[in-house]
């Protein structure tokens, strides 16, 4: 079974995002970029499936600029067998990425497509679900455990107030939640090996996909900050303030 994993290059999660003062967006010049953490978890799961003998080939796919090659090299160092870059400098929104991924899925015919549940830049949480809908595949989002039983995929997923388990016919689309696994650190030998693994580059045109944005970002601003509060000396003062001042007790 082939597994396709979608990975996105985003601002590193340790870097504090800075809003440009002209309101045009985030300042991403000269800052560290990394693989989206949820995609890293998806990638790890695919590699584990291969190590367990369930997956035969792991293909990492990224849609974006030339620099996304770095993210794909990381995926290859983690254990992907080959990589596909859908290269474009256009702004890509979730619907466009889902269409690009569908074109790749049509071509590669994987048994499983793994994605992170959301990217930590636009926080959209849409691409996996959109891909599943467009490809006519069943979906299991927010996965915390994935296993293959016969010809079905069993996925435990995190939902508000608890957990549920789904059984899906394959091929299927799964998006990873935080606790699906802990991604491995990539070793230097694997980074070296990754440089020799195949990476193919295609374009949205070659895949016949129109990636024109459907949303215009008019303005990006810093969120309103809370006013600094007060320090209270002890519990009695705290309870007094909550009772008399804030009136929440």
């Amino acid at each position: 079974m082939k597994v396709v994993v979608a990975v996105k290059r985003v601002l590193d999660y340790n870097v504090k995002p800075r809003v440009r003062s002209d309101g045009s967006g985030l300042d991403l010049a000269n800052v560290k970029m990394s693989m989206n953490p949820f995609d890293e978890i998806a990638m790890e799961e695919a590699v584990r499936l291969k190590e367990a003998g369930v997956a035969t080939e792991v293909i990492a796919v990224s849609c974006g600029t030339t620099q996304s090659q770095e993210t794909l090299r990381t995926a290859l160092a983690m254990g992907a067998d080959r990589a596909i870059l859908v290269e474009t400098s256009a702004e890509l929104q979730p619907l466009a990425v889902a269409k690009l991924l569908k074109a790749i899925v049509d071509r590669e015919a994987p048994g499983l497509i793994l994605l992170g549940k959301q990217a930590i830049d636009d926080d959209a949480n849409q691409t996996g679900q959109m891909l599943a809908a467009l490809a006519g595949l069943p979906q299991a989002t927010f996965a915390s455990k994935v296993s293959v039983e016969g010809d079905r995929l069993i996925v435990a997923r995190e939902v508000d107030g608890g957990e549920e388990t789904l059984s899906l016919p394959m091929p299927a689309v799964v998006t990873s939640d935080l606790r699906l696994n802990e991604p491995r650190y990539v070793s230097l030998p694997n980074i070296m090996k990754a440089k020799k693994k195949p990476m193919e580059t295609v374009t949205p045109d070659m895949l016949g996909v129109d990636v024109a944005p459907r949303l215009q970002t008019l303005h990006v601003e810093e969120p309103a900050t809370r006013k600094a509060g007060v320090r209270v000396p002890d519990v009695a003062a705290l309870l007094g303030a909550l009772r008399d001042e804030a009136k929440v007790l």
Partner: protein
């Protein structure tokens, strides 16, 4: 054109979050709001929805295969009616986020997630970068599919009106997932997303036993829901679904008590819209104090029991 709100429910009762979603819908255009209840044996939910202010029509799609409300089936049902609406609104809950992108993709339109403000019928504000920035976005699509962050819209006041109730056909998707099991935590205290008071614990609690022995009595005394920081969840002190933060629950109660939580950006993104924030931490430099209305520096193991005794 009318606005469609997809109700959230468990086939027995309407989930309170739907009232926040209807409130957001009425900010866009309050003249025609329809509510879809898709489920099995869910007529009582539809009757409940028909009594809400601002709701003109309730549509009930009732069929056995909709009982588990699997996204593929609900999406197929929504698709049978979606094209007669200008907007389709869902909660930005695990259910809404699971479903909304499917609807948008099938309609070939963008989906706008987690909206916190309606600017006009085409323009919305939503947080990006874990709440570190707010983007104003405008959709150029004919139908807007939106998920609504509940804490940004006050729930609709209850009103004993009576909207029309129509039954519509339930559609099915042949290639869907099947529910094997669903375990929802038993609710002996208010649900985290809906509680007026939340008591949250962080790594400072030290163990799951302390979470139980120190924090729970305070939550009991305040009638509060229990939350946790990601650090506390990762350390196994509290269950996954208690996590407050960008990757967990977004809460905005009247009172949020953060105990032994340092205040990572990730956590602040999930609670900074609370009305009153209390922080208790032994580290006077902890970032949580920068968002707290009332900060108390000291040993939580002394402070919390004293609070329990004093409330």
């Amino acid at each position: 054109m009318a606005i469609l709100v997809i109700a959230e429910h468990d086939n027995r009762a309407l989930s309170a979050v739907t009232l926040n979603v209807i409130a957001a819908a009425s900010r866009i255009d309050a003249t025609q709001i329809h509510v879809l209840v898709a489920g099995s044996g869910a007529r009582a939910v539809a009757v409940e929805a028909a009594k809400l202010a601002s709701v003109n029509t309730v549509l009930l799609a009732d069929a056995p295969h909709l009982e588990a409300q699997i996204a593929e089936h609900v999406e197929a049902t929504v698709l049978t009616i979606a094209k007669s609406y200008s907007h389709v609104l869902l909660a930005a809950s695990s259910q809404g986020k699971n479903l909304a992108p499917r609807i948008a993709a099938k309609l070939d339109v963008a989906q706008i997630g987690d909206i916190v403000e309606v600017v006009d019928a085409d323009t919305f504000k939503r947080p990006i970068y874990a709440g570190n920035a707010i983007a104003t976005v405008r959709s150029v699509d004919p139908i807007k599919v939106l998920t609504v962050r509940r804490t940004a819209f006050d729930p609709l006041a209850a009103q004993d009106t009576s909207a029309g109730l129509e039954e519509i056909a339930a559609a099915a998707d042949g290639n869907s997932a099947q529910l094997v099991s669903r375990t929802l935590a038993t609710r002996d205290r208010p649900e985290l997303g809906q509680a007026a008071t939340v008591v949250s614990g962080g790594r400072g609690l030290g163990s799951s036993q302390n979470f139980k022995d120190v924090l729970e009595p305070l939550a009991d005394k305040l009638g509060a829901a229990l939350g946790a920081s990601r650090a506390a969840v990762d350390a196994g002190f509290a269950p996954n679904d208690a996590q407050v933060g960008q990757t967990g629950k977004i809460v905005a109660p009247q009172l949020y008590v953060a105990v032994g939580i340092s205040g990572a950006i990730q956590h602040l993104a999930g609670m900074k819209d609370s009305k009153v924030i209390v922080a208790i931490n032994k580290d006077a430099e902890a970032p949580i104090f920068s968002v707290a209305d009332y900060g108390l520096v000291g040993d939580l193991f002394e402070i919390v029991p004293e609070m329990v005794a004093g409330v």
